[in-house]
């Protein structure tokens, strides 16, 4: 199998332009971020921050500064409210399991939306093993949660509600503030968690304004290194650890703190937030050019998710009818353009993206869907290259489909 990859990569030789748009699934770490991280492997602060020697104290200092910065960017009150985790997957696991176990005497009901990322969806479902039940709130055809249904779903046994601030596939910006008010009005004890991985660095986010109890953010989603995320837990809320081991600077996550990754995530956050307006404006401009260009060039398309300011500025999700998504991602890769698809063929269980199904897309629409996210590091030339190459790629795959895919 690995030999195959060698051959596969060879097919990409001679590519003149590469455009990475699969920022949903990983990202390119800017050199500045890498440069900021490297000294922490072997030049300084390589110690364990809980030990009484210079490299340890150096690590302690830089980690504390990072806690403070991430707390500021998220709008947390104090740095103790932040826990670094190996990614948003672990942060979501901790948020759900950790609160559920700590609150179980108050009730055993969890409420999420139908379009949560799988690291929320499957964790909530897994909690069934421990006697918890999960209710999923439906969404409309743009991915907005049904607030009425949310209100109905919460009762005095509901211990946790978890709804993403921005949906990772559709870019839908949820009315979190309203949702929190609705939930707290029905049950002030219910905790509210939001996976803000796709909001952080893309839309204004402040956990105190939103009045959420817990929030998740992730590093690679803002061009930071993979393998780092953070969870916000409002001061005073009870939570249990879900992993045991040596506790260091943070009581909710054991193990030796990964100083270089923490530094990288912090640096990536700085870069995202120091020019927040300009950065997000650029994402939006490039995204709009990309989407408008594709709609100009091709017919039989569906735009997935909302338009306008209720959509995160980086997200583009388009269904290309009569075109199979997995085949298209390969065709595009051979041209140096990297995207992902919600096609059933690209999944282990051969079922299309649950998010696209939840907004009422037919299977054949989900089948040709591609997800792209812009970053501030992309250029106008990159978008021009995509617009120049994509129609040829789509037309070739549509040519293979012929009349077969028309239902």
């Amino acid at each position: 199998m690995v030999e195959n990859v060698k051959e596969l990569l060879k097919l990409h030789e001679g590519i003149t332009h590469e455009v990475y748009l699969d920022n949903e699934n990983s990202s390119i770490v800017p050199q500045e971020v890498v440069d900021a991280m490297l000294p922490y492997y072997n030049k300084k602060a390589y110690g364990n921050p809980t030990l009484t020697h210079k490299p340890g104290w150096e690590a302690f200092e830089v980690i504390m500064n990072s806690f403070q910065k991430i707390a500021n960017y998220m709008g947390a009150k104090i740095l103790e409210e932040i826990t670094f985790t190996p990614s948003e997957t672990e942060a979501n696991n901790l948020a759900i399991m950790g609160t559920a176990f700590a609150q179980k005497s108050k009730g055993k009901k969890i409420v999420i939306s139908e379009i949560e990322p799988i690291n929320v969806l499957q964790v909530a479902e897994m909690m069934g093993k421990f006697g918890f039940s999960t209710t999923k709130i439906p969404v409309n055809n743009e991915g907005f949660i049904d607030l009425e249904k949310l209100k109905e779903a919460v009762d005095n046994e509901t211990i946790l509600v978890s709804i993403s601030a921005v949906n990772n596939e559709l870019g839908t910006i949820q009315p979190i503030k309203e949702a929190v008010d609705i939930v707290k009005a029905k049950n002030p004890q219910t905790l509210f968690h939001t996976d803000a991985s796709d909001a952080y660095g893309r839309i204004p986010l402040n956990v105190q304004d939103l009045k959420v109890d817990l929030a998740t953010v992730g590093s690679y989603k803002i061009q930071g290194p993979r393998g780092m995320g953070a969870m916000y837990l409002r001061e005073g809320v009870n939570m249990e650890r879900i992993l045991e081991g040596q506790i260091g600077t943070q009581k909710l996550w054991p193990g030796v703190e990964n100083t270089p990754l923490i530094v990288g995530f912090t640096k990536a956050s700085e870069l995202a937030f120091e020019n927040f307006e300009a950065n997000t404006a650029k994402m939006r401009t490039l995204r709009d050019k990309l989407v408008d260009g594709i709609f100009n060039e091709l017919d039989d398309l569906r735009f997935n998710g909302p338009k306008g300011d209720k959509r995160s500025p980086d997200n583009a999700n388009i269904s290309i009818l009569r075109c199979e998504g997995e085949a298209l991602t390969i065709e595009l890769s051979l041209k140096g353009i990297y995207v992902s698809s919600g096609s059933a063929c690209s999944r282990r269980l051969l079922q299309p993206s649950h998010v696209l199904v939840a907004i009422g897309r037919r299977f054949s629409e989900a089948h040709g869907s591609i997800l792209m996210k812009t970053t501030r590091s992309l250029t106008e030339e990159d978008i021009a290259y995509v617009l120049e190459s994509l129609p040829t790629a789509v037309n070739r795959i549509r040519g293979i489909v012929g009349s077969t895919g028309v239902d």
């Binding site: 051959e7 499957q122 054949s364 293979i400 239902d407």
Partner: protein, 170 residues
């Protein structure tokens, strides 16, 4: 909902990039479809069959992944010049998978579907011709045909689970 690495081999990639016998055949003797656009995996086979029941030409269209495209293409190559009997007996999904140099296990079904479509086309040929099926053609469905049926059933069940909005869209 999770993903799986798919390191396609060079032969699959080659047939994906340069599929042989692609496209509708205007003068096809028989056309058969397997799969369902709802679940995405769908293949159309076009066969030109001589009076002596020899497959003179075969072509395909595919609404599926790279493995689906490549296996369909290779089947059209493998059956060219074969008698219907030989095509029926010799072309199994295992042979097709071997011929293509192996597939990731999650993609086996794409090859199965290609062979299912072929078997369906052969069956249909005799039906349309209005002659009794030859004795080598069993009444019972082969593994590949059963799989194709199963996949089509699954597509129906999945579509039923769709939301009402989906019905409204065209």
């Amino acid at each position: 909902m999770s993903r799986i690495p798919l390191p396609y081999n060079p032969k699959v990639m080659d047939l994906f990039r340069h599929p042989k016998n692609l496209g509708k055949m205007e003068d096809a003797t028989v056309v058969a479809v397997a799969g369902n656009p709802a679940c995405g995996d769908m293949i159309t086979f076009y066969l030109k069959i001589s009076a002596q029941d020899i497959i003179e030409r075969a072509s395909f269209e595919s609404y599926g992944c790279a493995a689906n495209i490549a296996t369909s293409s290779i089947v059209t190559e493998m059956i060219k010049g074969l008698s219907l009997e030989a095509a029926w007996k010799d072309i199994t999904w295992k042979r097709v998978t071997d011929e293509i140099g192996g597939l990731p296990s999650v993609k086996f079904h794409c090859g199965v579907l290609a062979v299912g479509a072929l078997k369906r086309a052969i069956r249909q040929y005799f039906k349309e011709k209005g002659v009794a099926a030859p004795e080598w053609l069993p009444n019972e469905h082969t593994f590949e045909e059963k799989q194709a049926l199963e996949e089509e059933e699954l597509a129906k069940t999945l579509s039923k689970r769709l939301k009402p909005e989906a019905e409204k869209q065209s």
